[in-house]
């Protein structure tokens, strides 16, 4: 594999939710590449299929539902859709990790945060118990949690929303993944914390050289975070390009509408 070959190559991906009587197509004809170290944004309104696309990469269907996937998802040339359950499990978390939207509900309330980092390391590495414990402390420290050595013993309810998202990011990066998928990682947080989390993601991406797939409904989040952006609308990618170009000259009318939807700080003159 040459340095320029894509890390992830998605071709003609379609996801259909199979219910008893009917089948609902959530996304179709999705094709995109993510190169090593590259950050790619996915922008679109709620329900446009961004999250389904992200989860389809790791074949994660929501609990209790069946999702039929077609097309191909090639990671380093290997089709993830063709892997066995056991083989895809070795990719999940280890090669491609995910951070989800709501940090308040994404941590197991009955386990300490340390244990939730450690079980991941135990699954994917051969480190000793003490090494795993050290690594958990190191990771919490790396995502900016003060007094990490003591905090590994704390439970999620002892952390604020922003701190919990940091913990979830620590879990996601624990095995040095090639690709981090962040699915609306700041949507549930307040603005100040949003900025902190985004800065953290930027810093980690640079330090670790991993690729980033950043999913958001907010064009404001994408700006300054990614090189390329895919705009999604009703289950399809309607526009793709360098982020500066898309901002400056949106080609698709929906992209223009989305850009106009970002509130601007201005004093209203007269009735709106």
């Amino acid at each position: 594999m040459t340095a320029d070959a894509p890390l992830l190559e998605v071709r003609d991906l379609a996801a259909r939710f199979v219910a008893r009587a009917e089948t609902v197509e959530a996304v179709r004809g999705i094709s995109f590449d993510i190169r090593p170290g590259e950050a790619v944004g996915f922008v679109g309104e709620s329900g446009c299929g961004k999250s389904v696309t992200a989860r389809a990469i790791l074949r994660l269907a929501p609990e209790g539902s069946t999702v039929a996937l077609s097309g191909s998802v090639r990671y380093r040339g290997q089709d993830l859709l063709a892997l066995s359950e056991r083989a895809i499990r070795a990719v999940r978390g280890r090669r491609i990790a995910m951070v989800f939207q709501d940090p308040m509900t994404s941590l197991n309330p009955v386990m300490t945060v340390g244990a939730q980092i450690e079980d991941m390391l135990r699954e994917h590495t051969d480190l000793s118990r003490t090494a795993i414990r050290e690594r958990a402390v190191e990771l919490l420290d790396q995502v900016g949690i003060e007094n990490a050595r003591a905090r590994v013993h704390d439970h999620p309810h002892q952390f604020s929303g922003g701190m919990r998202q940091r913990v979830l990011i620590a879990i996601a990066i624990s095995c040095n993944p090639d690709l981090l998928i962040a699915d609306e990682p700041t949507t549930a947080l307040d603005v100040i914390v949003q900025a902190q989390i985004l800065r953290l993601l930027l810093r980690l991406r640079e330090q670790m050289g991993m690729s980033l797939m950043l999913i958001t409904h907010d064009f404001g989040v994408v700006a300054g975070m990614v090189e390329r952006v895919n705009v999604m609308y009703r289950g399809r990618i309607v526009e793709t390009g360098e982020v500066d170009r898309v901002f400056a000259a949106p080609a698709h009318p929906y992209t223009r509408a989305l850009l106009d939807a970002v509130p601007r700080l201005a004093i209203a003159r007269g009735p709106a």
Partner: protein
């Protein structure tokens, strides 16, 4: 911050236990009054039951009542009983004249054993079927739900009677009424308690099953289960540490609350299967109006229920750090 962490030393548990002990005293006092008054409100009394025959001279009845202090007003009888009970003397059985405590002791062990086996069975059966029906939701879980509905609808004494009847007719070699004391042969003892415990466990297992089903369904749609899968954890680990650990805490609480109904059910089950436990003894004592025995058994049962609930609360707080001892 280390200093901001919830203290998890033994002291909160001790405080919980202390508060509960005060409550327990109040509950037991209340139970003792209710049991005392109710038993004496029943038609007939010990004298009539003891005399046995239908035509008895009034003087004979009076003599019996005087001998056992039953001629006094109920509140005098109660205060006398309470005074002795507070000094640790629960009196003597009217029937056998032996101290109540030595009468009940060995029988309590048998009932405790039966109830414990039944509770474990209910947890095992209910937990398994509940998990199964949650996993099979929308496909074949109707089988589990139908069986659950039937188990709940048919009272345990009917099931017990049918089992005894069927076993007697078709499997006489099973020798159902062959209760063996634990010390004589531990294995045979547990073996002889299995069928009775199953009858007892059936209705409770439905409660456990339905609660497990609801809890598993609720927890499995939680984000942290998706996160666990995205971490690449093996399914066994996702199920154990993430799903069940969260789903089973409420289930264990519910099961703890069912201990009262298990104790109640043991009266009928022990009587049907001829198990020399506390339940059967209570049944006999009510028939013979053996007031001190009834009083003691009711108090003991109440104490067990309170104690089990205390254990459940401690276990709950241990399992889930968000729960504080109060």
């Amino acid at each position: 911050m280390a200093t901001a962490r919830t203290p998890r030393s033994g002291s909160p548990i001790l405080r919980l236990v202390a508060v509960r002990l005060v409550w327990t005293a109040a509950i037991l006092l209340g139970v003792s009054v209710v049991a005392f008054v109710l038993m004496r409100a029943l038609p007939g009394d010990f004298a009539i039951a003891a005399a046995g025959a239908q035509f008895v001279q009034a003087e004979v009845l009076e003599a019996i009542r005087r001998e056992f202090g039953l001629d006094q007003p109920v509140w005098v009888q109660y205060l006398r009983w309470l005074g002795e009970a507070l000094q640790g003397d629960l009196g003597r059985s009217f029937v056998t004249r032996r101290p109540v405590t030595s009468e009940i002791g060995p029988r309590f062990v048998v009932t405790a054993q039966l109830t414990l086996i039944a509770a474990l069975m209910a947890l095992a059966i209910g937990g398994t079927t509940g998990l199964l029906s949650a996993r099979l939701r929308g496909q074949t879980d109707w089988v589990v739900r139908l069986v659950n509905g039937l188990s709940l609808a048919v009272p345990n004494f009917v099931v017990a009677t049918l089992i005894v009847l069927m076993a007697g007719l078709y499997f006489p070699f099973l020798n159902l009424f062959n209760y063996t004391p634990f010390l004589a042969d531990p294995l045979a003892n547990i073996g002889s308690l299995l069928l009775p415990a199953l009858c007892l466990a059936l209705a409770v297992s439905v409660t456990v099953s339905e609660n497990t089903r609801a809890a598993v369904l609720e927890v499995s749609s939680q984000d942290f289960v998706m996160v666990a899968r995205a971490k690449g954890l093996r399914p066994r680990r996702v199920l154990g540490s993430y799903l069940l650990r969260n789903a089973l805490t409420p289930v264990i609480t519910v099961t703890g609350l069912q201990v009262a109904s298990l104790l109640g059910g043991s009266i009928l089950i022990e009587t049907i299967f001829a198990i020399p436990g506390m339940g059967q003894y209570l049944f006999d004592s009510i028939t013979s109006r053996d007031y001190p025995v009834i009083q003691a058994i009711v108090l003991l049962a109440a104490a067990v229920v309170v104690f089990v609930n205390l254990l459940v609360d401690i276990a709950y707080a241990r399992a889930d750090a968000r729960v504080r001892y109060e």
